[in-house]
C-alpha cells in the first residue's frame, strides 16, 4: 500500500516539465494564438518523441502502455505550461476508447498516435449538452447534422464522434461533406470547432459502445481535471513569486496578511484536490466500478477551485495581472474553458448523485 507517486512518475513529470519550460515557453504559446489552430504539429511530434502521445497505447503498437495516472500527470504538466496540444482527445480519450473495443481495426490509428503522426479530434459535447440544435444522425452509413464545440477538430487528421450514447464513429478530417469551422474562444491554447456533416461516410462505426463511451468520458474528465489542476498550480506559483518580489508601502506585498491568506487559501484548496485526482486516476486503472463517480467529483471539484484560484492569483498581481503582457490570462482562460468541456460542475454533480442512486 502506497498512496503516492512512484519514482518513475516523478521522473516523468520532471522530464516533461523541463522539456516544456525549454521548448514551449509562454512566448511560444503567445505566438501560437495567432495560428489558424494552436495545436502545433512540431509540439505534438516532440511530445511523441518523449513518449507522451503513446502513453496509453499498447507497447506492441509503439506506445508505453502506462496507466491513466501517468497520463494525468502529463495532462497536468501540459496545463501547468498551458501547452497547446490535442493530448486530451488524441492521447487519452481515443486510446481508452479504442483499447476497450474488440478487434484490431483501430491498431493503425493507435500506432499513428504513438508515433505523433496522427491527431484526433473528439466530438462528444452533445452527450451532455445540446445547444444550437446540435446533434448528428448516423443512418444508412452516412452522417448528417451538427456537432458543437468539438475538441481539437479544426485541423485534425481524424475525428472520433459519438452520434449517440451507444455508437462511436471515426471520420477523416478531410472527409467529403464535412465542414469544420474553428470557433474563436477566450482560450487561445485550445481549439473548439463546429462540425457540419452532410452525407459524410465514416471510416469506421462501432456499435454497442455505450460502456466504452462512458469509460472514454471518465478518462477524459480525469485528464481534464489534471490539466486544470496543473494550470492552478502554476498560477499559485506565479502569485507566490510575485508576492515575494513586489513592494508597496515599503514592504513586500507577501508580508501583508491579506495577501498571505489569499495564497494560503489557494494552496489549501489545491493540495487535497491533488490527492483526490490521484485517487480518481488510480481508481480508473484498478477499481473501475468506483471510477465514474470519482471522475465526476474530481472534475467538478477541480473546476470549482480552479475558478477561485484563477481569480485570486490574478488579484495577487494587481493591475499587471489584468494585462495581456503579464500572460496570466492564458492560465485563467484555459481553466475557464475547461470548466464546461466535458460537462460543467453542476451537471457532473447531478450525475454523481444519480450514480449513487440519490436522484
Amino acid at each position: 500500500m502506497d498512496f503516492g507517486l512512484s519514482e518513475e512518475q516523478l521522473l516523468l513529470e520532471k522530464t516533461l516539465r523541463s522539456f516544456l519550460a525549454d521548448e514551449v515557453p509562454i512566448g511560444r504559446v503567445r505566438e501560437l494564438r495567432d495560428a489558424e489552430c494552436p495545436n502545433d504539429v512540431g509540439i505534438w511530434r516532440s511530445l511523441a518523441e518523449l513518449g507522451a502521445t503513446g502513453i496509453l497505447v499498447p507497447e506492441s503498437l509503439g506506445g508505453s502502455d502506462l496507466s491513466l495516472l501517468d497520463a494525468a500527470l502529463v495532462a497536468q504538466s501540459l496545463g501547468h505550461a498551458v501547452t497547446p496540444a490535442p493530448f486530451l482527445g488524441s492521447a487519452v480519450m481515443v486510446p481508452i476508447a479504442f483499447r476497450a473495443l474488440a478487434g484490431s481495426e483501430t491498431d493503425g490509428w493507435l500506432r499513428g498516435i504513438a508515433a505523433g503522426e496522427i491527431r484526433f479530434g473528439v466530438a462528444a459535447t452533445e452527450l451532455f449538452s445540446i445547444r444550437e440544435e446540435a446533434g448528428t444522425v448516423l443512418s444508412d452509413g452516412k452522417l448528417n447534422g451538427k456537432a458543437m464545440m468539438a475538441m481539437d477538430s479544426c485541423a485534425a487528421d481524424f475525428i472520433l464522434l459519438t452520434p449517440d450514447a451507444g455508437r462511436l464513429a471515426v471520420v477523416r478530417g478531410d472527409a467529403p461533406g464535412l465542414e469544420a469551422t474553428r470557433l474563436a474562444t477566450t482560450d487561445a491554447t485550445r481549439c473548439a470547432t463546429e462540425l457540419l456533416f452532410a452525407e459524410v461516410a465514416p471510416e469506421a462505426v462501432f456499435e454497442g459502445a455505450e460502456a466504452v463511451i462512458e469509460r472514454m468520458l471518465d478518462a477524459g474528465r480525469i485528464a481534464l481535471a489534471a490539466d486544470t489542476l496543473g494550470a492552478c498550480e502554476s498560477m499559485i506559483e506565479q502569485a507566490v513569486a510575485y508576492a515575494g518580489q513586489r513592494k508597496q508601502f515599503d514592504r513586500l506585498i507577501g508580508s501583508f496578511q491579506a495577501v498571505k491568506h489569499m495564497c494560503a487559501e489557494m494552496i489549501a484548496e489545491l493540495e487535497p484536490a491533488r490527492s483526490l485526482l490521484w485517487y480518481a486516476a488510480h481508481a480508473f486503472d484498478t477499481m473501475p466500478e468506483e471510477a465514474p463517480l470519482l471522475a465526476c467529483h474530481a472534475l467538478a471539484h477541480i473546476s470549482e477551485i480552479g475558478r477561485e484560484i484563477s481569480s485570486v492569483a490574478t488579484q495577487v498581481h494587481g493591475g499587471i495581472g489584468w494585462t495581456d503582457e503579464q500572460n496570466l490570462h492564458f492560465w485563467f482562460k484555459r481553466i475557464s474553458a475547461a470548466r464546461h468541456m466535458l460537462g460543467g460542475p453542476a451537471w457532473l454533480r447531478e450525475r454523481a448523485a444519480s450514480l449513487q442512486g440519490l436522484v
Partner: protein, 398 residues
C-alpha cells in the same frame, strides 16, 4: 500508487471484524465519569491486547509493539467506523502527550505515563492557553519558580478542555523569566489534584449536550518536582510545537462517516411533501461536500504515506486542519438547513432530529476551527512555512 490490500491484509481485516463482532460494546463506553471509568479502561485494554489501539507503541511502555503499517491503520479505522465504535479514545493524552513523550520524554516518564494514558487510566488536559495568551501563546505568563528540587507554579490557564475530568495536565509555564519569549518556557506534567490548583468549569456554546467541557484553571504555588519537565528546561516551546503538530494531525476526522449520516438525514427529511434529497439545490450542496470529503479522505492517506516513508509532506501537510475543520462545519450547516425551521430544536425536545446531533456537531466544529490554532493562524503558517512568504514585520517597540 498501490492500494491493493492483498491476502495478508484481508486476513487482518477479517481478524478486526471478528474481534468487533465478538467484543463490540452494547452501549458506548467513552465516558470519563469516575463510576464507569473502569468500563472504558477494560475496553481500551482489550483493544491494546489485540493490537487495535496503542498498536505501534513499544510493549515496554504498555503498547502492542507492532511495526507501523499504514494499511493496518486504515483497515482498523475503516472497520471500527463501519461498526460505529470509536477506536481507542480521542483525547489529548493519547493523541498529543503520548507522541510527545515518545519523542522527547525520559525513560522514566515514558514507562510511567504512556501505558496508563493509552488504557484510559490517566486522563490528560492540555494547559496552554491563558487569558492574555492564545494565538500568541509564547507570551504566556504562568510561571514556575525553582524551590529546591521542585517548581512552584502560579498563574492561570483557560479554555482547558476536559480539565474538570482530568487526572493530569501537560502545562506550559515560564521557568526562565530572564530569557526571551520563546526560550523561557518549559513543558511540565502536573497532577490536577495538586494542592493549589482550582478548576472552574465554563459553560460553552454547546450548552448541555456533549462531554466537551471548557475550564479555567488557577494555579497558586502548585508544587511539582523538577523531574516533571519534559525535554529540557527552557525547551518547552519546541516540545509544545511537536504536541501541536500531533494535535493537527489527529484532527483527521471521519468526514465520510459524517457525510453518510447527512445523506441519511436528507433521505428522511421532507418539507412540503418533498424529500429534501429531491431538492436539486440541497442535492447539489451535498455533492459539493462529498467531493470535499473524498478529497480530505485521500489527502489523509497521502499524508500517512508521507509520514511512513519519512518524506516531508511540505505545504500539503499544513493544510489538513484548516480544510477538515471547515468541511465539518459546512456539513453540519447543510444538515441544519435541510431541517429548515426545525433545525434549531435542541436539548432533546419534541421533534428534535438525530438527538440534536447536528447542532452539537456544528458548535463542536466551530470550536475546532478556533481551537488548536485558529484558521487565521493556520493560514499564517501555511503561507510562511509552507509557501515561504515573508513574515510579518515586527512593529518597532513603543
Amino acid at each position: 500508487m498501490d492500494l491493493q490490500y492483498g491476502p495478508r491484509y484481508e486476513a487482518f481485516r477479517a481478524e478486526v471484524r471478528n474481534f468487533l463482532e465478538a467484543h463490540k460494546p452494547e452501549k458506548p463506553v467513552g465516558s470519563l465519569n469516575p463510576e464507569v471509568r473502569h468500563e472504558l479502561v477494560a475496553w481500551l485494554s482489550l483493544q491494546i491486547d489485540h493490537g487495535y489501539w496503542a498498536r505501534t507503541i513499544p510493549e515496554t511502555y504498555g503498547g502492542f509493539g507492532a511495526e507501523p503499517d499504514l494499511l493496518e491503520t486504515v483497515i482498523m479505522d475503516e472497520e471500527f467506523n463501519r461498526a460505529g465504535v470509536a477506536r481507542g479514545m480521542a483525547a489529548q493524552g493519547p493523541s498529543m502527550l503520548v507522541p510527545t513523550l515518545l519523542e522527547h520524554g525520559t525513560e522514566e516518564q515514558r514507562s510511567r505515563w504512556i501505558g496508563p494514558t493509552m488504557r484510559g487510566e490517566v486522563i490528560w488536559a492540555q494547559g496552554y492557553s491563558e487569558p492574555g495568551s492564545g494565538s500568541d501563546l509564547a507570551s504566556l505568563t504562568t510561571s514556575a519558580r525553582e524551590d529546591g528540587d521542585d517548581f512552584l507554579i502560579s498563574g492561570q490557564k483557560i479554555w482547558t478542555s476536559g480539565a474538570d475530568k482530568s487526572d493530569m495536565m501537560f502545562v506550559l509555564v515560564r521557568t526562565e523569566p530572564e530569557a526571551d519569549k520563546h526560550a523561557g518556557i518549559s513543558y511540565l506534567l502536573v497532577p490536577v489534584g495538586s494542592p493549589g490548583i482550582e478548576v472552574q468549569p465554563l459553560r460553552t456554546m454547546s450548552g448541555s449536550i456533549g462531554e466537551n467541557s471548557f475550564n479555567q484553571v488557577f494555579f497558586t504555588d502548585v508544587r511539582v518536582p523538577q523531574s516533571s519537565v519534559v525535554g529540557r528546561r527552557g525547551e518547552g516551546w519546541k516540545i509544545a510545537n511537536t504536541t501541536l503538530k500531533h494535535e493537527r494531525n489527529s484532527l483527521n476526522s471521519n468526514a465520510e462517516g459524517t457525510l453518510l449520516r447527512l445523506t441519511r438525514l436528507m433521505r428522511q427529511e421532507s418539507a412540503n411533501g418533498v424529500c429534501t434529497l429531491e431538492s436539486p439545490l440541497f442535492r447539489d450542496r451535498l455533492m459539493q461536500l462529498q467531493a470535499r470529503a473524498l478529497s480530505m479522505k485521500h489527502h489523509g492517506m497521502r499524508m500517512l504515506t508521507c509520514s511512513l516513508k519519512e518524506e516531508r509532506a511540505g505545504v500539503a501537510g499544513l493544510v489538513t486542519k484548516l480544510q477538515n475543520c471547515q468541511l465539518n462545519f459546512d456539513m453540519s450547516s447543510l444538515a441544519i438547513d435541510v431541517m429548515g425551521e426545525l433545525g434549531v430544536l435542541y436539548d432533546h425536545t419534541k421533534y428534535e432530529r438525530d438527538r440534536g446531533y447536528w447542532q452539537a456537531h456544528s458548535f463542536f466544529s466551530l470550536g475546532l476551527i478556533i481551537g488548536g490554532g485558529t484558521a487565521q493562524i493556520q493560514k499564517n503558517i501555511i503561507s510562511e512555512r509552507g509557501l515561504g512568504l515573508p513574515r510579518e514585520p515586527k512593529p518597532a517597540p513603543a
